[in-house]
């Protein structure tokens, strides 16, 4: 088996591209990122890794603006992400220059995915070790959330998570995402925070939430705003727990 994972361009006998799969393992080691698509708002949430005491916290940015109406969060190798983000930013402006229209979210996701795929098929290069969640609004106002992975595939999602404990978060989203939540902006933001709280310590210190509305550009929520939302969620949880206890006692 080890003979087939050295060079990227070689298939294994049972049809695997091992380098791509190892890249996906690298993604699973990265800190969690969550994306939720509402009807009028798209929300990205990321787990903030604790920084060493002497490091400047604000220089670690996992949510990046690609254009006025597109932004992305990633899980995996930060250095690889920087390259992808730069290429995407350039492509957005190039698109505006040639066709005088802003990119659609699908177009820029397809571009990122194509770049990634190219690196899975050329000799001497390794795949990009990151998955990205690309969110934004098209020119006609429709919101989108796309996910790409190191193999170069991309899919549209209503809500998704990548990185560490992605499966846990995705299961939570599957159970709690519905049309009612999507139609209310505050509920969409709350769902993102709730989903992150499944795998992250409570509080604004360990998460960063960013929202994008139809006419606006990316807005990263202040720590105080996040704390407020977390407090509301904790209260709701406490009320739920009390109710359950009472039910348990009475029955």
């Amino acid at each position: 088996m080890s003979r087939y994972d050295r060079a990227i361009t070689v298939f294994s006998p049972d049809g695997h591209l091992f380098q791509v799969e190892y890249a996906q393992e690298a993604v699973k080691k990265g800190s969690t990122a969550v994306g939720v698509r509402g009807n009028d708002i798209v929300v990205l949430g990321i787990e903030k890794k604790s920084v060493p005491k002497l490091q400047e916290e604000r220089t670690v940015r996992k949510i990046c603006m690609i254009d006025d109406h597109v932004c992305m969060a990633f899980a995996g190798l930060t250095a690889d992400a920087r390259i992808i983000v730069n290429r995407a930013r350039l492509e957005c402006q190039s698109h505006r220059l040639t066709v005088e229209d802003p990119v659609t979210i699908e177009y820029i996701t397809r571009y990122i995915a194509t770049v990634k795929q190219r690196y899975t098929q050329s000799n001497g290069r390794r795949p990009f070790g990151l998955s990205a969640l690309v969110v934004g609004f098209d020119y006609d106002g429709t919101p989108h959330l796309y996910q790409t992975d190191p193999s170069g595939t991309y899919h549209a999602w209503k809500a998704n998570a990548i990185g560490r404990s992605a499966k846990t978060v995705r299961d939570f989203l599957e159970q709690n995402y519905n049309e009612e939540v999507a139609s209310n902006e505050d509920d969409t933001i709350k769902l993102t925070v709730k989903a992150l709280l499944e795998v992250v310590q409570s509080g604004s210190k360990s998460m960063e939430i960013a929202v994008m509305r139809r006419k606006g550009s990316l807005k990263i929520l202040e720590a105080s705003e996040v704390d407020k939302i977390v407090a509301v969620i904790e209260k709701e949880k406490a009320v739920e727990a009390e109710k359950k206890q009472k039910k348990g006692k009475s029955s």
């Binding site: 603006m65 690609i66 930013r89 402006q93 505006r96 220059l97």
Partner: protein
Amino acid sequence: MEFSIGFQGDNFVMLATDSAAVHSIVMFKQDHEKTIKLGSNTIMSITGQSGDTTQFGEYIQKNLQLYKIKNGYEMSTHGMANYTRKQLADALRSRGPYQVNSLIAGYDKNEGCGLYFMDYLASMMKVPFAAHGYGSYFVLSILDRWYRPDMTKEEAVTLLKRCMGELKTRFIVNLPAINVKFVDDEGIHELPPITESEYEKLTL
């Protein structure tokens, strides 16, 4: 026959261009916009070879937009002007020089207002007032005599009208209207075009 003019006032910079789009002996449009927005507080008027103007202008505009997205803040006016000059200079001795003349007007929090004159050979100067085109031969003398650095916006518009009045008298080509914009600390503002009926004849 294209004409553009710019000058600094009291905490603002005014930029005006003629609005005729001409090809040989035919007038395509009389309300053509020759100024583009480079940022929230900077504009550039571009005159010269048709095609080069749009290509060069949009190229600079999109690259400055990319800078803003990459770095999180816009380039200063000084930076934009020098970037534009460098692009023009690189193209000069290459496969395709851009034959465009431009004026860049902008406002910076740190530097205040600034007007930069740039010609097609990529020479650039920061100046209080400037003009491009045949009209400049007439208008620069008017500005030499009547320009003051502390003009209000109304005085600036009057000065513009008087410059156009001079061109109406002494320039063989008729400029039916000019598009006027100005930049101050609140951003880019557009004034209604000044038409021939409003041109004033300066009386000494």
